[in-house]
Symmetry: C2
Subunit: 243 residues, 2 copies
């Protein structure tokens, strides 16, 4: 049976990939992905054929992968982070109904939430929510409801896609919503370019986060009521009982 | 400066570890962890010294790591999954205030949410919450509030620690709470022994999940209103708008 690996390459590149992901890419004839991600892995997998499609051409990219697999070639479709977290795994199954002879194997990876958490210290540790602020495919009302629910129930919140050119004030809007339930002094953190060149991080309060300019390469962490700063790191305890 | 790597080894063992995690273990003089996790990696890192402490001795395990590091040895503290998701990273920073000369480097890994998702298909994809049903360190009222908030805001929910000998009916209680807002037909899935011997998975409805017996090696996934079954796989679309 023809096969496609759908591979999360982790937040950075080679080093943050799992052993299994690296093996899958080594075994593949062709590696397909968004241009930026292909450029992240290209040097480590010399001799492979690389195919790319630009952003917003995700369906075309899936079709390309299945068509290559139909020819009998072993294909890896790569995603940054984890293929199953705002990645291509779901769309591959949806497009895959037209290609019943091609089998998919999803190979998980380190997503920005856990990759960024490692840079900041230990902000997640306990129950958390992952929310994307992109309203391209989700109505803003739904995002708003989730932010409020997460804040009221005292989750740690990790925000993906916190800003873009068209949505420069979305992080501020999100902070204002969460401030209805979370204290201004809630410990927060941001990480830019996780595990890539130019990585930087900052720990701050929710009040400060509200007025911080971020971009599409930023992952944002908002603590729960127990999260604290220890020696410049953002740390959430394992629970609420004194142990 | 003395250094400790706090390493997430992924849900299974060697193959699911990142390249960076494997390098850290190879560089270390001593590898410390809960007995079960040490046994998962032992054969791949011959010649290392391995130290273990049993479950519930987490603080002792942290102290052991810092004491070894103080002697000038390069230490890896290992956790299954990701060290920052219900892992040891937070506690290491807390214990670390007593060891200002020891530096921590957190090395992220694939957590059960994304490792299990890859087995089931693509259940997460979009916004999701991770909730532990263990009330050892968290009051049940807080867990209940989070389950209700997550269900009402239509998050995909991933449940860790869904059951134990003392808490055999907790998954049923959790399902009953989520059923206040989620349909009985919500697509759900469970994975046992992710990436380990005896791995198994099952896709079912929320009504069926309610009456399913799980154990401490099970990770549970409850879909959002858009999650569907495609060819036996659990798949959540990328958003809510038709594209």
């Amino acid at each position: 049976m023809n096969k496609i690996f759908v591979v999360g390459i982790g937040p950075g590149a080679y080093e943050q990939m799992t052993v299994k992901a690296a093996d899958a890419l080594r075994r593949s004839d062709v590696i397909i992905g968004y241009t930026v991600y292909v450029d992240l892995v290209r040097e480590h997998f010399a001799g492979k054929e690389f195919l790319t499609t630009p952003m917003k051409k995700e369906v075309d990219r899936c079709v390309m992968a299945f068509e290559e697999a139909k020819k009998g070639r072993l294909v890896s479709m790569i995603c940054s982070g984890d293929a199953g977290v705002y990645g291509m795994a779901g769309l591959m199954y949806e497009v895959g109904v037209n290609y019943p002879d091609v089998e998919l194997e999803i190979i998980p990876g380190v997503t920005a939430a856990t990759g960024g958490a490692a840079v900041l210290g230990a902000p997640l540790i306990h129950d958390f929510c992952l929310i994307s602020l992109s309203d391209l495919l989700t109505p803003w009302e739904k995002i708003e409801k989730r932010l409020l629910a997460a804040a009221e129930a005292d989750f740690v919140v990790c925000l993906y896609n916190p800003s873009s050119r068209k949505r420069h004030d979305y992080l501020q809007k999100a902070c204002d919503l969460m401030l209805r339930y979370k204290s201004e002094d809630t410990v927060c953190g941001i990480v830019n370019h996780i595990a890539r060149e130019g990585q930087s991080e900052q720990v701050m309060t929710l009040r400060e986060l509200r007025d911080t300019q971020v971009d599409m390469f930023t992952t944002v962490f908002v603590g729960n009521s127990q999260t604290k700063e220890i020696g410049g790191k953002m740390v959430t305890p394992r629970g609420y009982k004194n142990v």
